[in-house]
């Protein structure tokens, strides 16, 4: 009984948290659905090399190193600084050396770049693409 309860709880929690990821609204922006495969969501963890809160869209650059030491340089774009800063994010919110997990829709070209739905930061906070927008 207890085991069943825990299983149920786990399933419900998984569904609940999962729904948070998949329910992020897809916003139509500059060539977004053409450049990126908005049907896909992938998670990429790596070490930040640069965070640029600049127009027209904020950008994050991070490196992913595999077991053999090969480094892939990832890049991603997210909302306009106007929205992100209205939500309290700043140029210092992400720093080089931070380990981040990025949930993104990858480029259709198959390159290591994407439009980011969220960036999970080392301090437990998560930057979301719709931050600062009215919901």
């Amino acid at each position: 009984m207890k085991h069943r309860t825990i299983t149920l709880l786990a399933v419900l929690l998984a569904v609940s948290t999962g729904s948070l990821v998949v329910s992020v609204p897809v916003f139509a922006h500059h060539g977004t659905s053409i450049s990126y495969d908005m049907e896909k969501r992938v998670s990429v963890t790596g070490i930040v090399t640069q965070w640029r809160l600049t127009n027209p869209h904020a950008q994050l650059f991070w490196d992913v190193t595999d077991e053999d030491g090969n480094v892939v340089h990832w890049s991603g774009e997210i909302s306009a600084p106007f929205h992100l800063s209205k939500a309290g994010w700043s140029r210092n919110s992400i720093r080089p050396g931070d380990e981040v997990t990025v949930i993104l829709s990858p480029s259709r070209a198959g390159t290591p770049t994407g439009v980011m739905a969220e960036v999970q930061l080392p301090d437990g906070r998560t930057m979301e693409r719709d931050d600062g927008r009215e919901r």
Binding site: P56, T111, T113
Partner: protein, 280 residues
């Protein structure tokens, strides 16, 4: 026992979802309560307004039946424009939208972009200060009229505008446009013959409605009546809250700066993100 467990589980799940939503909302500045019934002067547009109705296009849906047929010259120019939005959108890296490299948006696109705009009004002049690209546009209300034709050397991205009151509607006529600007983000062209008429009516304390008609016989075979757009008056306390959240600047009020500069930062974005996104 089972029902109690399920109740507990469901409660926890609901709390989790609710807590997540609350956390998310915490990051946004809440809209101040609307106040449409407050007294107002229908001929006073002073304040910071933000678009709250209508699309970013001249027509609600590009190419719908409100979109006029084009002349051969207009069609050729339309075909040469590769926008990053709408049904003809291409990856920005392969497009030619002037704003993609931070060239000026031009008047109609500034009006159509949903960002706060401050209206500064004097007896002879109304100035619209746009946060997006941090540009301004002046509407002269001192009785002057626009010439029928402009010397091409004088044409400019934001044109020339003169306004007059018809009852409580401000009617603004504009001409003298630089034809490198686009009418909207969907890649509809304008020409040096374009004339724009905007009709602004403050319908209540909180709302200005904008009706716009574009006439350009070189490009379109009939006048183009735009989808009606509307603006919401952003209450002072809401703007102050935005600044406090954005910059930790307390008590500040004013237009924002959403400038696409310096150019090398934009080049950097294009070369490091948009180009690889398009496989270039």
């Amino acid at each position: 026992m089972l029902s109690r467990s399920i109740t507990t589980i469901l409660t926890l799940a609901v709390m989790l979802v609710f807590a997540s939503a609350t956390l998310a909302q915490d990051r946004s500045v809440a809209r101040a309560a609307p106040n449409p019934d407050a007294p107002f002067d229908p001929r006073d547009f002073s304040g910071i307004w933000e678009r709250n109705g209508g699309s970013r296009g001249i027509s609600r849906r590009p190419g719908d039946d409100t979109t006029p047929p084009m002349t051969p010259e207009g069609q050729a120019r339309f075909d040469s424009y590769r926008p990053g939005y709408g049904p003809r959108q291409v990856p920005p890296a392969t497009g030619n939208d002037p704003t993609g490299e931070c060239n000026p948006a031009g008047l109609t696109r500034a009006l159509l972009y949903p960002r706060p705009t401050q209206f500064i009004q004097t007896p002879d002049l109304l100035v619209q200060m746009f946060s997006w690209h941090r540009v301004f546009r002046e509407i002269w209300t001192d009785g002057r009229e626009l010439p029928e034709n402009f010397n091409p050397d004088l044409r400019r991205w934001y044109g020339y505008s003169a306004g007059r009151w018809e009852d409580n509607t401000l009617v603004v006529e504009s001409a003298g446009f630089d034809d490198r600007a686009w009418l909207d983000q969907n890649g509809y062209p304008l020409s040096e013959a374009t004339r724009v008429v905007e009709r602004y009516t403050r319908v209540d304390h909180d709302t200005i409605e904008l009706e716009m008609t574009i006439t350009d016989p070189l490009t379109y075979t009939r006048p183009w009546v735009a989808e009606q757009k509307s603006y919401r008056l952003v209450p002072r306390e809401e703007v102050v809250a935005w600044y406090a959240r954005m910059t930790d600047l307390q008590g500040w009020y004013g237009v924002f700066e959403e400038d696409c500069a310096p150019v090398d930062e934009v080049d950097n974005f294009n070369s490091r993100v948009r180009d690889p996104a398009a496989g270039l």
